[in-house]
């Protein structure tokens, strides 16, 4: 059979197999679905720990509040970018969207490193306490990443690794935002390092595993 006839035969065969399909909801709608899950966890943490402690910390050190806002913006933008990259034809440059939020998050967190010199009496996180942050971020990132991958199961990410990086970033940023609710001490170099390490672990794990999980449509 010649190639053009084979292509015609294939088109005919695909036409015979055609069934109606349910369209993929828009990236915004799926982002909203994922954020609802994050909001449910936040509501549970707030009910458990209360909001007073968090507000006191924020009014005392506004840079911590800025870092929290940066993490939330990063989570929303990275989740939207992940869903957007799951639709063929959407430009890959949307992967830059979380950058401004990320810079705000890193920049405002970095101000906490100066606190050792500016206010020596401030409670600085010990290595043990900072370890708790690492465990918290990774523990919350796992279910949030799984949920994102599940929400992307019908998508077709043509750049699976980049999409997985966005998933990791969204999950880690959302977990860091949730951590703000129950953070018992002020940001400092040790704590910031642990946060950065946790985010790096989550992003790298997603890039390594998520890239493979996200490709069923292309096999």
């Amino acid at each position: 059979m010649s190639e053009p006839r084979l292509t015609e035969s294939l088109i005919q065969s695909l036409g015979e197999q055609l069934t109606p399909v349910r369209r993929l909801p828009s990236p915004w709608l799926r982002t909203l679905g994922w954020l609802l899950a994050v909001a449910a966890i936040a509501a549970w943490l707030l009910a458990h720990y209360g909001i007073t402690h968090m507000l006191q910390r924020w009014s005392g050190q506004p840079d911590i509040a800025l870092a929290g806002i940066g993490a939330v913006i990063t989570a929303v933008c990275a989740a939207w970018a992940a869903f957007s990259l799951g639709v063929p034809g959407r430009p890959a440059r949307w992967a830059w969207l979380p950058l401004p939020g990320l810079l705000l998050w890193i920049g405002a967190s970095g101000v906490g490193c100066l606190r050792v010199w500016v206010a020596p009496a401030t409670h600085i996180a010990s290595l043990h306490e900072a370890n708790d942050c690492l465990v918290f971020i990774i523990s919350f990132s796992v279910p949030l990443s799984v949920l994102l991958i599940w929400l992307l199961r019908r998508a077709c990410p043509l750049r699976p690794v980049l999409t997985a990086v966005m998933i990791g970033l969204a999950s880690a940023a959302a977990s860091a935002s949730l951590l703000e609710i129950c953070h018992a001490f002020d940001a400092a170099a040790t704590d910031l390092m642990m946060h950065a390490l946790a985010v790096a672990i989550v992003v790298a794990a997603n890039a390594a595993m998520g890239g493979r999980l996200l490709q069923p449509a292309l096999k």
Binding site: L10, I11, Q12, G15, P20, V21, S26, G89
Partner: protein, 219 residues
């Protein structure tokens, strides 16, 4: 123009789209009117196909072939491999047709899938090229030392065929094993492998072509 209103258009994809819009689709019926560009017509056909309209689906696939060929050539796919990319892209389009959003550019959606399939084909060709032995070297390594009897010749032919089949890509090997060696019907093979009959037919054709080229040298 529709695509200039989309985010993709706003981000500069417009520079690519008009070039495709100039290519006449390979269809004779339902020719777009002057007020409706070929791209918008394809978008409308795909939207109808998502609802289960078989006629619209076959038309959009047929009119997609020149666009896929253009995308494949742009990625540097050799002319003799372009039809493979066309067929792989059509199969992928069938699997992920639910990801197309009718409010966005169909051509950008299709081109992204075609480009990805073209890159996959280039990679796969590169991998096979590294693993295959050239004929002269294969003859040096495996000289016909015992071709005195017809039985031995037949045995050697069978071995060469088995070896050749083993070097085929997994999809083609599976198709030739199921349809050629085990003599299963298309329906039985589809049930065994979980693949679509159209995909099996394409893979069988490619496998036969590859084996013909290998043994007779004529593509």
């Amino acid at each position: 123009m529709q695509h200039s209103l989309t985010i993709a258009g706003a981000l500069g994809l417009d520079s690519v789209l008009p070039a495709w819009a100039r290519i006449d689709p390979a269809v004779t019926d339902d020719t777009p009117t002057a007020s409706e560009s070929p791209e918008r017509q394809r978008a409308a056909w795909m939207a109808a196909a998502q609802e289960g309209n078989k006629g619209a689906y076959e038309r959009v696939l047929a009119s997609s072939v020149p666009l896929i060929r253009t995308a494949a050539r742009r990625q540097g796919v050799a002319l003799d491999q372009v039809d493979d990319v066309v067929q792989e892209t059509l199969l992928t389009v069938h699997r992920v047709r639910h990801t197309y959003d009718p409010s966005r550019s169909y051509d950008a959606w299709l081109s992204a899938i075609a480009s990805r399939r073209a890159i996959d084909a280039l990679r796969s060709h590169g991998r096979r090229g590294r693993h295959e032995l050239h004929d002269e070297r294969a003859v040096d390594l495996h000289p016909d030392v015992d071709d005195a009897t017809a039985a031995t010749e037949r045995e050697q032919d069978a071995r060469r065929l088995r070896e050749a089949i083993a070097t085929l890509p997994p999809g083609q090997r599976e198709a030739i094993e199921q349809l050629g060696l085990k003599e299963h019907s298309l329906a039985e093979a589809a049930e065994h492998t979980g693949r679509q009959p159209g995909a099996l037919k394409v893979n069988l054709h490619r496998a036969l072509k590859a084996l013909r080229t290998r043994f007779h040298g004529d593509p």
